[in-house]
Amino acid sequence: MPETPMSPTPMSQRHRITVTVNGQSHEREVESRRLLVDFLRDDLHLKGAHIGCEHGVCGTCTVLCNGESIRSCITFAVQADGAEITTVEALASGAVLHPLQEAFWEKQGLQCGFCTPGMLLRAYEMLQRDPDPDAATVREGIASNLCRCTGYQFIVDAVLDGAERMRAGASAAAASGSAETVDS
């Protein structure tokens, strides 16, 4: 931090960081003030996490940091040094949607789609902890994320349907002895 000849202004102070994103390690130099969401979108070209309110209220920038949902618009990229970040890009495998994404599709859990990356990751996190939640738990859980289109009802329906698909997938995988590979 000291104002050494190396960094005569705060803008010239750079930090070398290594962040694992969706299982892949990235090394970059960032300015102190670089927000994690800008790092993901502009430096790594992962456009899944959206920028909405930029002050931690709307939740569309939600990513998982070491498995826990956080707001990437109020986290600095330099703080993610050494962390494992999961973005919405990790859910689908190639052209095959994650069961939760299929459920959002089927149940119309989105209209404009702007809140969807955050909703998916938040729902995914909740279902990791509680694979069979009731509607009230889902509603409470996604209260951290704002949606201006759906009125939330279809999102709740989609998360419940996604939970069912994920449980069915897990028991099918257990029956056939193969491991599920959704979590990268």
């Binding site: 931090m1 000291p2 104002e3 960094s7 202004t9 705060p10 803008m11 102070q13 930090h15 300015e31 102190s32 003030r33 927000l35 800008d38 930029e54 002050h55 931690g56 939740g59 939600t62 940091c65 826990e68 949902s69 956080i70 707001r71 618009c73 109020i74 986290t75 600095f76 330099v78 703080q79 938040r122 409470e140 859980g141 209260a143 951290s144």
Partner: protein, 290 residues
């Protein structure tokens, strides 16, 4: 928006953090804890520190310790840890209940105990809990360590007894076995800051109320204890009108400010109602715990 440029350091220990604070004191460095209040302020450019000292790598400040029911919580302990911890539910159920009301889970994953207390938002839950529980707040600086009683810590909106070279390192909570507790709050939408919140502790002494502790958030310039109402409750019969009277007395001296969300008059009304609810719940729980 994006924050203006700043120098950043992430020390690994408390002593490193303290040296940086003292070394750069001329530049008025800001200590970054969970960042759930400071970073939004920086994004809005309402805060524009030139030096930011990030405590997130100071692992020694992230702990929960319980001895003889006395709970000690490291300042960098995440708020989400509080609501999931069996030790906290057992040793400080008031704190566990309040923690679940702080914003939303993704915020609590990052937000810290020390950050919330040191930031001293008038509407935040944890300052009120610290006051009601008679917490001791440990502040460290290059000059050593001192213990500040919560009742002397909150001085005004976003203003505390912490000196510029001090870091809040731990929160000590006394054991309170057999005490009824309640944290209740009113907010306009789920997860928002409370318009008014109430932390209540109540002990029974035979068939009378023994000791009561009552603290409010949102109802004044900072979190505050309402000692007059506490005195009224001590020794009173729980069957009578003591709780209703205490609720009147608690609200009597307050002049909450009007803002975009509610008028001061409405907040005063909320204070009376929520003090009453908090005390009724705390009483019922004290009776259950016998």
């Amino acid at each position: 928006m994006k924050p203006p440029p700043f120098y950043y350091a992430a020390p690994a220990t408390v002593s490193e953090a303290l040296s940086l604070l003292s070394e750069h004191r001329e530049s008025e460095p800001r200590v970054l804890a969970g960042g759930q209040s400071l970073v939004p302020l920086m994004n809005f450019r309402l805060a524009h520190p030139t030096h930011v000292i990030d405590l997130n790598k100071v692992t020694e400040l992230s702990f929960l310790r319980s001895d003889d029911g006395r709970l000690t919580i490291g300042a960098m302990t995440r708020q989400a840890v509080l609501e999931r911890s069996a030790e906290v539910r057992l040793g400080a159920p008031l704190l566990a209940e309040a923690a679940g009301m702080i914003a939303h889970e993704p915020i609590r994953h990052r937000g810290t105990v020390g950050g919330s207390i040191a930031h001293a938002d008038p509407a935040a839950e944890l300052p009120a809990v610290a006051l009601a529980m008679d917490a001791e707040l440990v502040a460290a600086s290059g000059r050593g360590e001192r213990v500040i009683p919560a009742t002397e810590f909150f001085l005004g909106p976003f203003t505390t007894a912490l000196e510029p070279d001090e870091v809040l390192t731990e929160v000590r909570l006394p054991a309170a076995p057999g005490t009824g507790y309640a944290f209740v709050e009113f907010s306009r939408t789920h997860g928002n800051f409370a318009l008014v919140g109430v932390a209540a502790l109540l002990e029974l002494d035979g068939d009378r109320i023994g000791r009561a502790a009552l603290a409010l958030c949102g109802a004044g310039p900072c979190a505050l204890r309402v000692t007059e109402a506490e005195r009224l409750l001590a020794g009173a019969s729980p069957d009578g009108d003591a709780i209703g009277e205490a609720a009147e007395v608690a609200a009597a001296g307050l002049t909450p400010s009007s803002d975009a969300h509610a008028s001061g008059e409405f907040k005063l009304r909320l204070t009376r109602i929520y003090v009453q609810r908090a005390l009724e719940t705390a009483l019922a729980r004290a009776q259950d715990r016998r």
